[in-house]
Symmetry: C2
Subunit: 250 residues, 2 copies
């Protein structure tokens, strides 16, 4: 099934993912503010694994039934819920806090973005901090398996996010940089993202301009914007593992 | 997106699943001998949830890190591995043993069959014991969402299995019975399965004839064939839940 031309596609909000176009492709979900950054920082700091939950109650219940060393993390309205060990500030996920531990993390948008891509042959979670590493991993899938690529921005509440689009552009550029001379076809969304990232050189300014970034600043979380803007500071690629599979009575 | 004609497709071994044809569809993986039967019996007997693992070691490690009431189940070469609470004999999964508990269950083929369908909008795990219930659940998806349906037999080591094909036929029949007067288009595999099930009325004989059934009989597990042949004895539909999502460093 190795093909000579692989297509790279970008969508700017998760609602635009067509399931049949994710299936069998190498995929990345992008969520710069902040879950993608936080998860990359957690795994980069040596967390054993990260489990994502949409609901606070589900994360809490899972943490309680887990016998090992684990942390409960995430936020609602900008703050960590009662009894949580950590919020959603990437810089707090240090080796001393998370090293060797499982992290039970709640994020509605990031979890949904990854679930939409579950049919992919490879699914990574991306942010600016690891955009280059994710791009190289996707290039490796193109090189070894001739797969097509789908980069799906999470977006924010059904709308586009400048920071996710910018990150998608950096991922596309990293793919192209890794595969000089190989025929890679950019779908229109990928061309838009690549050129957008090309004219917007400063990640910190992109983050500060966007709707979501301004909201975080107004909540006093400006230091998180600084952490989320550190492009290519991490070499870690968080990868979705579909095993174990959970079955319940329907 | 509700369409007036839904297509029902059957494939006779999991290797024939095309990811883009599973994506966004209502799906069922069929594994009559024995994982599909055992999981239906476990949830039918009141198990809280079943977690599927390909590897014995992974199931064991997960069981150890689980603080709640849980059981380790599965087999290799027909017998339960060291330290397991249960094997893969459906009749052993009684309310007294599994009620209210999580079951950590190893099955290579069944886990792979379900993982192949992960992009589906709805994914059930089926066997003869719950073929009718699964068919009705799939019919409900057609009725409410106008989805197409994919029934994927697990098969055995890359080959077809008569018992899975027979079960797929019963599922197709249950779908049609539930939707009289509605336009359902059967793809060719679904027609083959339906007619095969129509001429083979006796599940016990189908199970006894197949390669896998004869192997189990030769291992002294003939009583499991009896349990697996009890068509429509359970009303339970084991459903794949993609949450929580597990991320690890790649």
């Amino acid at each position: 099934m190795r093909r000579d031309v692989s297509v790279v596609e970008v969508v700017f909000r998760r609602e635009d993912v067509v399931p049949s176009r994710a299936a069998g492709r190498a995929c990345a979900a992008v969520d710069v503010l902040r879950a993608g950054t936080t998860v990359a920082c957690a795994l980069g700091a040596g967390a054993a694994e990260v489990w994502l939950f949409r609901e606070v109650a589900a994360a809490r219940a899972a943490r309680e039934s887990f016998a090992g060393e684990a942390l409960l993390a995430g936020e609602r309205g900008g703050v960590a819920p009662d009894g949580f060990d950590l919020g959603n500030s990437p810089a707090d996920f240090t080796p001393a806090r998370v090293g060797g531990r499982a992290v039970f993390f709640t994020t509605t948008n990031g979890t949904a973005a990854l679930a939409d891509l579950a049919g992919g042959s490879f699914v990574a979670f991306a942010a600016l901090v690891n955009a280059g590493a994710v791009g190289r991993a996707l290039a490796g899938r193109i090189e070894r398996h001739g797969e097509d690529v789908l980069v799906a921005c999470a977006g924010t509440k059904g709308r586009y996010s400048v920071e996710d689009a910018f990150c998608a552009g950096l991922i596309v550029r990293a793919i192209l940089d890794r595969l000089p001379g190989r025929a890679v076809e950019l779908a229109d969304g990928a061309r838009i993202a690549l050129d957008f990232a090309g004219v917007r050189r400063d990640p910190a300014r992109v983050l500060a301009e966007g709707d979501h970034g301004r909201t975080l600043t107004s909540l006093g979380l400006g230091r998180d914007l600084v952490a989320c803007a550190e492009a290519d500071s991490l070499d870690v690629v968080p990868i979705l593992r579909l095993e174990p599979l959970r079955l319940v009575a329907g």
